[in-house]
């Protein structure tokens, strides 16, 4: 049955295509089978990439500027008195059912309300529900003490939805651009339960539909004829293979089997940069992620702030980037990366600790360990991975050489590692963070607030908490910027809670016939791409 519809659509495409030209297929590789294509459940980048192509949300981000643009919602306004954001929706968006009939059911505000409430439902057990706790009644509902009716999301009519928050959050439209606020197809979910995301059941409303999904092997996205902006979608089909090995993926790209390689192995970077063809296909774009080495200030000798300063000052970030990472990343002395509202340029402003071996040695001496004598062994733990291992060996070696101390590098497998960091974090541990939405609240508050579960350093500063709490409710952008700047200075410079290492970049290889955009927040917008004749 399913195969027939794929065939039918392919024939239709072919017919349409014969009229207009060649069928445009983008050959992409996702590195694993998406664990879940359910917007309420998906947590990883692979799933998000596919979801972005299949579902639309209230708003969307401009790939280049991170500005919030309309998507399902055409406009929105905020009412300070009721602390409510009201979104006005388009009326020409349709659900595309599994047999791709264009006149599917319309996407309504009721679907938005359903989507958000389902995300918050305790039975769904969504891992991202906490992000929406700023909605009135959300936390209570999600933890099982409140009811769905008390959640501050109401469909005022078919095309207007009102979302009431606990406090005015200027950044809320950014959150409305996340998959979290996407409308969901109630009929399909209630009919098929957990299996509603399989290719034969799924109902979507985005630029692409799920044509075929062979688990662990490949996945095909086909252009949706009923997408509201279908005329501007140029690529007809996206064929996703699922090869995990980065080196194999590179071989596939070089053989022309893949059109884009979004994770070229860093071992090949030298060769790519010196290759006449590949060097022209390589592009780098900023990515909203930061890599840090967390410090457990409860464990001696790191309880001495001078020791932390010494460690922070002896990380040669530039050499790390030039020789180990090779991806033109940016050294980080502060936490939020460029592109996030609240970013401060720590390097040029002198916030944080640049590489300064002399100063580092001085800090250590002042701490009572001149030349590293008497300094106990420090454990640096990472999760099992080649890439993290290289970075750890480089930085660990740097510490040993500069400070004369002993570093013990151990690794643990991911699940165990997270557990260890949460319960009894080692002295130094590696963590990263990628933006859920491009605002400092997601970086400062969601991560380092003393009550946050993501605060593996167990950083507890009432001053910091006050700053970020105030910034969360503040409406004036200038005031917010200043608050975040103070927070950065406090956590990176004054308290040295962790050592920021670098801001990620996207290094991607793209065939010259692909006309594309780059998304800093992750998840490419294939609907805006094009493939030239080749």
């Amino acid at each position: 049955m399913k195969k027939m519809w794929v065939l039918a659509l392919a024939v239709a495409l072919l017919a349409g295509v014969c009229a207009t030209g060649q069928a445009k297929t983008l050959y992409w590789n996702i590195q694993s089978d998406p664990p879940s294509l359910d917007p309420s459940m998906a947590t990883d980048t692979t799933s998000h990439q596919i979801l972005k192509a299949m579902f639309i949300s209230l708003c969307q981000f401009d790939d280049a500027t991170m500005a919030v643009l309309p998507d399902l919602a055409t406009s929105w306004e905020f009412d300070a008195a009721t602390v409510t954001w009201t979104f006005h929706l388009r009326n020409d968006v349709r659900w595309t059912q599994r047999n791709w009939t264009p006149s599917g059911m319309p996407v309504t505000a009721g679907d938005v309300e359903y989507g958000i409430k389902r995300l918050l439902a305790p039975e769904t057990a969504s891992e991202y529900a906490y992000v929406l706790y700023l909605i009135k009644g959300a936390e209570a509902y999600n933890t099982g003490v409140g009811s769905a009716d008390d959640v501050g999301v109401k469909a005022l009519d078919d095309y207007t939805v009102a979302i009431t928050l606990n406090f005015p959050a200027g950044y809320f439209p950014g959150m409305a651009a996340l998959w979290l606020c996407a409308p969901l197809p109630r009929q399909a979910i209630e009919a098929y339960g957990d299996k509603w995301t399989e290719a034969e059941n799924i109902v979507t409303n985005g630029p692409y539909v799920l044509g075929e999904w062979v688990h662990e092997d490949h996945l095909v996205l086909v252009k949706s004829p009923s997408y509201y902006d279908a005329n501007n979608v140029k690529i007809d089909e996206v064929y996703c293979t699922m090869v995990n090995e980065a080196s194999t993926m590179m071989a596939m790209y070089e053989a022309g089997v893949l059109d884009v390689n979004d994770t070229p192995p860093l071992e090949d970077m030298d060769r790519i940069k010196s290759d006449p063809v590949l060097s022209l296909e390589l592009a780098q774009a900023p990515r909203l992620c930061t890599y840090r080495y967390g410090l457990n200030a409860a464990k001696p000798p790191l309880d001495n702030i001078l020791v932390r300063k010494a460690l922070a000052s002896s990380v040669d970030r530039q050499s790390l980037i030039d020789y180990v990472l090779k991806g033109n990343q940016r050294p980080a002395q502060t936490w939020s990366p460029p592109g996030i509202f609240g970013y401060v340029d720590g390097v040029s402003l002198g916030i944080g600790y640049p590489y300064d071996p002399e100063a580092a040695r001085q800090y250590l001496a002042d701490a009572g360990y001149p030349g590293g004598v008497g300094f106990p062994e420090v454990t640096l733990m990472i999760n099992t991975s080649q890439a993290h291992q290289k970075i750890a060996e480089f930085i660990g070696q740097g510490w040993e050489d500069t400070l004369g101390i002993q570093i013990n590098i151990t690794n643990q497998e991911w699940g165990v590692y997270l557990n260890t960091c949460a319960t009894d974090a080692p002295q130094v541990f590696r963590m990263g963070w990628c933006a859920d939405y491009p605002d400092g609240n997601n970086w400062m508050n969601d991560v380092f607030h003393s009550g946050s579960g993501n605060n593996y350093e167990k950083y507890n500063s009432p001053a910091f908490d006050a700053l970020v709490e105030q910034a969360a409710v503040e409406l004036d952008p200038a005031v917010r910027l200043d608050l975040y700047k103070q927070a950065e200075i406090l956590i990176c410079d004054t308290d040295v809670a962790f050592i920021p290492i670098y801001f990620y970049t996207f290094n991607q290889l793209t065939k010259p016939y692909v006309v594309r955009t780059f998304s800093a927040i992750g998840g490419e917008s294939w609907k805006n791409w094009d493939i030239l004749d080749h």
Partner: protein, 320 residues
């Protein structure tokens, strides 16, 4: 014993040749085995005297040299951290040989003890113990060792383990050995079954021998029979059999390090070097080539030597 008349000029030896001597003699005539032994000896010596033989230490490296190809200063090139490949290979020999030898020792100890007890006490004990062995035989070894390694690494590898004691002590030992301790344990715990069966079989056959009967009749205590009659006859073939398994252990360690369940960095295991090199294979083949050659040559030599030893000890061997 009748003595032949000695002709002039003929060499004879008066000493009767024991099985060991005989085997040694046959072994030395096997050129392939000797070659294998020689190569192994070189590797062994290099591993033991690594500090003197290797031009650099395993951590010494200039990051600016990373991925460098072969040169005068670094005949085998450099790895991703600019460390000398040759030196890391030499130190890596320690890891592989240690995994092979100590893993074998662990499996040997467990297996021999088990087999001795089962074979010697016989009856119900033997039945139960051997049933256990039969059951464990069905557990796919690689899967078991993966499970064990995940278990070990997660429970024991954290330094400063809260509440020290046993766990802390084991963690410290493991760290001191660069992550090898649990590999030995893992290999040993999963590979003793064959040895147990073999030893038990041998014990059973020795038990039936006349001299054992005689010893019992005379009233020799069991422990004495075990130590003086059973054990010496069993040890020889057991050691040979165990030695033949060493290449397999070296392979296990390489596999485990390849998938990340092996040693901790910067300890240079050949398997880990292979996994690091595999990713860079297309751009820097030498990172794969040397560890691959190292493992292959070592196993090659071991297999030739092992074959030779097995043939030498096989009394039924006839070769034209």
């Amino acid at each position: 014993m009748v003595r032949r008349k000695v002709q002039s000029g003929e060499q004879t030896s008066d000493k009767p040749r024991s099985l060991g001597r005989d085997a040694m003699h046959r072994l030395l005539k096997n050129r392939a085995a000797v070659a294998g032994g020689a190569i192994l000896l070189v590797i062994f010596l290099a591993a033991v005297f690594a500090d003197f033989v290797a031009p650099y230490s395993i951590t010494e490296g200039d990051i600016r040299n990373n991925y460098a190809g072969p040169s005068a200063a670094h005949p085998f090139g450099c790895d991703f951290m600019g460390r000398d490949m040759l030196s890391r290979l030499i130190y890596g020999a320690r890891i592989s040989l240690a995994a092979g030898l100590i893993g074998a020792l662990t499996a040997f100890t467990i297996g021999v003890t088990f087999g001795l007890v089962a074979g010697f006490f016989g009856g119900k004990t033997d039945n139960v113990m051997m049933r256990f062995v039969d059951i464990m035989y069905s557990f796919p070894t690689l899967l078991l060792i993966i499970l064990l390694m995940v278990f070990f690494k997660s429970s024991f590898s954290v330094s400063g383990v809260a509440g020290g004691g046993f766990r802390g002590a084991l963690s410290d030992i493991d760290r001191a050995m660069g992550g090898m301790f649990f590999i030995f344990l893992g290999i040993g715990l999963t590979s003793w079954l064959g040895m147990a069966r073999l030893v038990r079989g041998m014990v059973l056959s020795v038990r039936g021998k006349d001299y054992v009967e005689a010893a019992r009749a005379v009233g020799t205590p069991r422990s004495q029979i075990l130590l003086r009659h059973v054990l010496p006859n069993v040890l020889g073939p057991a050691i040979v059999a165990q030695a033949l398994q060493i290449p397999g252990f070296i392979l296990y360690e390489a596999f485990l390090s390849f998938i990340g369940l092996g040693v901790n960095p910067p300890t240079p295991s050949w398997g880990m070097m292979l996994s690091q090199g595999y990713i860079a294979m297309r751009s820097h083949f030498h990172l794969v080539l040397w560890p691959a050659l190292a493992i292959s040559i070592t196993l090659f030599a071991f297999n030739f030597l092992g074959d030779g030893v097995r043939d030498a000890f096989d009394p039924r061997q006839t070769r034209r």
